[in-house]
Symmetry: C3
Subunit: 131 residues, 3 copies
């Protein structure tokens, strides 16, 4: 299992980590690569990384789909970050990409995104090769 | 493949099944544990299980994101449970957690939640170790 | 890795691909089947395929949860298809189904759906057996 460290800069921020995952999985012999986030206010998704505006649209959308002001019950360190938890689970804690000839079988436009939903923070991501 | 049985008590209810998954996977030699729900109105997610109010917030949020009253077409046994199906897929039918030294590599605050979205019912969950 | 080709007919359309996945995975010796979409405006989910109205409800719901008209920034080929990207990630790029006695361990009502979110198009789906 490889461990990546991601430093985020904004409250809600999608960060392209495709190259870091590719490096962590380089030379692996297996059928798929599991990327996993051990946090509860961050997630992972796969989507377009050619146009950076797609990531910006995700940030806006996640804040609208599970908005502040829904009368959340969970309060953390004096701060209401409940919607961050929901947004994280809407994206999901993991992605799994098949390997083809030892390479991630990502589509032409696909990149792997770390989804920060309660930043800025320093985060970890695990990369595991499955057979 | 191990099979867990979960009994739910409310229409929408997140239940922490971390310990049951841990027990099912104990002593396993592998790279990751797949947890899978063979139901269409239930899902799985990983999120904070330290504060039980996080689970309560999920229940409220899922009922608001895919609400009753959107003019759903699917009717089951005289009951409109269409949004339960959507909510289940928003969480997803499976989670996959890497193993490290034979233990689930969950983050400090992470727990695995069964998401009941059309209860109360008796449900099954499959636990499979991947290499 | 097997590759399926899916032809879609509508802008937003869930298509039951259970039988194609089953055929692609037939005779496989493994623990689970990974189904993966190499596109950024399409996803996968598992849900009820007995009543085709469930799929129709998903189409309506996804278009309402991430609607047109939120002032999206991403524009593609003169067309605002940003919400298609969000909807794709809400469903997710992959599903993973455990195998039991060489068969997909789907629940009684479960089918695997390809989720077209920016059609009509010709799409690919990868099917990989994991150990």
């Amino acid at each position: 299992m490889h461990e990546l460290t991601i430093t985020t800069e904004r409250h809600t921020q999608l960060i392209d980590i495709t190259q870091q995952v590719r490096t962590a999985a380089a030379g692996a012999h297996g059928a798929a690569v599991l990327v996993y986030v051990p946090h509860t206010t961050a997630g992972l998704t796969i989507n377009e990384h050619a146009d950076p505006l797609v990531a910006r649209d995700f940030e806006t959308a996640l804040e609208r789909i599970a908005p502040e002001g829904w009368g959340w019950q969970h309060v953390e360190e004096g701060e209401e970050n409940a919607p961050s938890h929901i947004r994280a689970s809407l994206m999901g804690p993991q992605v799994l990409v098949p390997l083809r000839d030892g390479e991630l079988a990502l589509g032409t436009w696909q990149g792997i995104f770390f989804c920060e939903l309660d930043g800025p923070r320093t985060r970890r991501v695990y990369v595991t090769v499955l057979q």
